[in-house]
Symmetry: C2
Subunit: 301 residues, 2 copies
């Protein structure tokens, strides 16, 4: 039987379908009580995300010869965490956004109280799912505890949530490049790094492989944010589903606003190159990781 030539497009599509199906299986059904809460949780999880983080987790697992099927619950738990963070970030008390990916934000549809609780429940469900991987994915207890630990440490007060706090504190205030990188390393970078490290642990990576993959993730994660800032300026509203330059409207610093568009593009290209160099020792199983790092940056060109 002839095999289709490998393409990132079909890889991403196949992977996101796998994750979509699994998320649907893992999330509580709307019919179960409390219905409205479950509806709110599903609304934001199935709002058209690209599933980049769970795909990275599966790809990291495969990059070290692991079985992606064993990593599927962990991948879905990570996406639940990502969705919880978006629901809470959009709240009136935070970024006060009405639209997310072109659709009304969770609190605009379900009200503020339900949105807060739907976020809380998604975060909680992520840990419930992850800790059940010993039974539902036959992961040994020791690596299971380890991935719970990696996830929790990445998204707490010194990780993702801490990044959001510093981000809010920096609004309407002149910040420098170091502070901007501090914010992004935590607010978006920490979860991307967790994705790759969790995949490495489930794939039973050697210490050396695991460290290389973490460095890959740090570079790719920051590249993702620089590229996002560039896109925020150049993409049109239809493509992004939010107002053009909306971060700049709120007085938020971005890489292009601090160092200029050209310099931001060069920085993104350098980070991509660094990500690729970090995992140069891995064999062709790391192909998806390589192509993703390239795609992250090139989509902003």
């Amino acid at each position: 039987m002839a095999t289709e030539p490998w393409s990132l497009r079909s890889y991403l599509q196949q992977r996101s379908e796998l994750i979509e199906t699994a998320l649907n299986d893992y999330l509580p059904v709307v019919e179960s009580s409390p219905s409205r809460l479950h509806e709110a949780m599903r609304y934001s999880v199935f709002a058209g995300g690209k599933r980049l983080r769970p795909i990275l987790l599966l790809a990291a697992c495969e990059a070290v010869g692991g079985d992606a099927a064993k990593a599927l619950p962990a991948a879905c738990s990570l996406e639940m965490v990502h969705c919880y963070s978006l629901v809470h970030d959009d709240l009136p008390a935070m970024d006060d956004d009405d639209l997310r990916r072109g659709q009304p934000t969770n609190h605009r549809v379900f009200g503020e109280a339900t949105a807060i609780l739907a976020g809380d429940a998604l975060l909680t469900e992520a840990f419930a799912l992850l800790s059940s991987a010993t039974t539902c994915a036959k992961i040994a207890p020791a690596p299971c505890c380890e991935v719970v630990q990696i996830l929790a440490r990445s998204i707490g007060s010194t990780g993702m949530v801490g990044g959001q706090v510093v981000d809010m504190e920096s609004e309407e205030r002149a910040i420098d490049l170091a502070t901007l990188e501090f914010i992004h390393t935590r607010k978006t970078g920490a979860l991307i790094r967790a994705a790759v490290e969790m995949g490495a642990v489930i794939g039973e990576a050697t210490d050396e492989q695991r460290q290389a993959l973490c460095r890959y993730a740090e570079a790719a994660g920051l590249a993702f944010q620089v590229a996002d800032d560039i896109l925020d300026i150049v993409a049109d509203q239809a493509e992004l589903g939010k107002s053009i330059g909306s971060d700049q409207d709120r007085g938020k610093a971005t890489f292009p606003s601090l160092i200029g568009l050209g310099q931001a593009r060069r920085r993104a290209a350098e980070l991509k190159q660094q990500a690729l160099t970090e995992i140069a020792a891995l064999d062709d199983s790391a192909r998806a990781l390589r192509e993703i790092a390239t795609y992250i940056v090139d989509r902003s060109n």
Copy 2:
């Protein structure tokens, strides 16, 4: 050396001091960035809670002959979860409370955004601490995964958070006793049950002991809520630190409002007796659990 006679008062005091010290050790210091977030987290954790849930966890561990020291991280993680739930419940979009235990609520001091994020960070920190018990408390990975699973399942959309949703939906609406018990079983009961079950797992309880302890916790947890409703009516403002009958003011159903004060007192006494019966087979190591169930109900007399 003469030993002091056992008293619940000194037991609770000694245990709450132990938990206080451990919480202080486990929580991020205010000096670490982001300071204001860490300050907000600590503000609500050290706001004068009685530490009932972590004490129950330690007591359940000891009741089956386990070492309470091994259960200390789990006990603290549970208290962090309890505090996160209070911070989020008090938010303007939820119960909109200005006072908690006689002090301004988290969002009144730190603002709504920081309060939401402090809650998120406390929930996350709970899982970080719990999953680190393999190293910091030398718990084997399998029971460690199990307690993460118990905690997460108890506080998600079909547990504590679900209870809060149904509670909010029931405001200003006539509800019956079954619905009130449904709410309390989840909103407060689930975490108390989790406390006892986690303690049982860490104490290496037999299946039979574990099930008996869970039934004890269900009865004691509901007794606690009935007693709280009674106290809400009879205690004076200074003692409780919130307005007299504040739940009734908001139109919330309580046990006394549905079945009358006398009947509520009888129900609390029955539940206490049931809790004691469930653990009758345990030896004197379960003394603290017995005295706590008695204390929970008798404080409302």
